[in-house]
Amino acid sequence: MVSSKELLKELLTDEKLGYCQNCGSCSASCPMARVIPEKYNPRTLLQRVHLDPDGMSEKEELWLCAWCYRCTERCPQGIQPTEIFLLTRNFAAEKGMIPPNPRRIIQEIMNSGRSMPYDEFIDELREDYGLPPIGEVPAKVLEEQRKIVGEEFLGMVK
């Protein structure tokens, strides 16, 4: 069985994250660190995750990565900070620590199949512009989504 823990362990091994030279390319490339440097610094975050991935759950900064992949693209050692941060969030989620906004959007996706709320006015506007209606995502698709993630996941994002 492949779990998030195993995948993270693989990315954090000495042969991978152990090769970090502390060059700071990740922080220098990061759009978040560029405009809010006092609140977000991926190089520091990466070192903290390396030391204690399980101990990061309460840190807001764990959720600030904008998922642009610029650090991953530029790291001279092939470390993948973006994937590491996504995996580390799994530990926080396991303990119930999911910030309110992501929780709300994930509920929306599970309930409606879309990340943006749909209502009939959207189809009225679409019709005015000659677009076919999108309607609701079929109930069968929502059922497939629920079967894939299972009750435990649904309970986590409730």
Binding site: R34, R89, G113, E144
Partner: protein
């Protein structure tokens, strides 16, 4: 190049940026490309949200869409760069790790689906920049936009990480510039060409929203300083972020008024389509700097 695609509409384009979908449909129709509706698609399940809760289950939800696309035997056409990047990422992760693929297929089996790996994922601009498409596009230009200066804004997920989002070189991209030049418009060089709009980071509350407005100011400010009449993106999420960012900046007394349009809007205008056929009247920023130079 295919003449028919399975349309993956994406949440931003079909629900929030309807004007952009209007443009895509009208431009692709004029190019003779058919977009087929597929009932069983759902949200691409962006990694920054769903995979953050459970990485493997998140990947399974994303791969469900790939499995649905496989059944159509058509290449998949994404309208949003984040859908493109997210679906390409899932495909890449599963194709390079057979244990992960088996795990995901175990979850998909519960819903009667199977990911096999045969789907081709395209994006509006990867289709338009296809080698066989470029000469065809050139012939379609009836109204060259020679008075217009455009600042290309690539958007992250169209080319990062380059190992699976393969549109262009993420450090020195040139393909969007080339596409802009085909329309007769001038493609400007400026500092923020490869910046991030923080679209996918704007979910997490006040801090990230603040960052997003600060970056909008840098991006739009730099384009305006170089004399841009508009910013041209590849992604509806960038349009939404950079327009809303400008509205928030205007509330702070900083009024840039730079239209943010998608490349298909520019292409459509150069093919002689009217602004309303491209849904430009649905945009949040006044399009006058663009329409006055047609």
């Amino acid at each position: 190049m295919s003449s028919e695609y399975a349309l993956f509409p994406g949440c931003v384009a079909s629900v929030r940026e309807i004007g952009y979908e209007v443009a895509i449909r009208n431009v692709f129709k004029a190019l003779g490309i058919t977009l087929r509706k597929v009932e069983d698609f759902s949200c691409c399940q962006p990694a920054c949200l769903v995979h953050s809760i459970d990485y493997v289950k998140g990947l399974a939800l994303t791969s469900r869409n790939l499995a649905v696309a496989e059944e159509t035997s058509l290449p998949m056409l994404t309208l949003c760069s984040s859908c493109y990047g997210n679906l390409s990422r899932a495909k890449h992760l599963l194709d390079e790790n057979s244990d992960l693929k088996d795990e995901v297929n175990g979850l998909l089996a519960k819903a009667g689906r199977k990911y096999r790996g045969g789907v081709k994922i395209e994006h509006v601009v990867t289709v338009l920049h296809d080698e066989s498409m470029l000469p065809y596009l050139e012939k379609k230009i009836s109204n060259p936009l020679s008075k217009l200066k455009a600042a290309p804004f690539y958007g992250c997920h169209i080319f990062m990480p380059a190992k699976y989002s393969k549109f262009d070189d993420p450090e020195f991209p040139h393909k969007l510039d080339e596409l802009i030049e085909i329309t007769g418009a001038e493609s400007l060089d400026y500092n923020e060409k490869t910046s991030c709009c923080i679209g996918c980071g704007s979910f997490f509350g006040e801090v990230s929203e603040e960052a997003s407005v600060l970056l909008s100011e840098k991006i739009i400010g730099s384009a305006k300083e170089k004399g841009a009449d508009c910013v041209v993106t590849t992604c509806p999420f960038c349009i939404m972020q950079l327009e809303i960012g400008q509205i928030k900046l205007r509330e702070q007394g900083k009024d840039f008024g730079v239209p943010v349009i998608h490349y298909v809007d520019l292409l459509g205008l150069s093919m002689g389509l009217k602004p309303e056929e491209l849904g430009l009247d649905l945009r949040r920023i006044n399009m006058e700097p663009v329409v006055s130079r047609l």
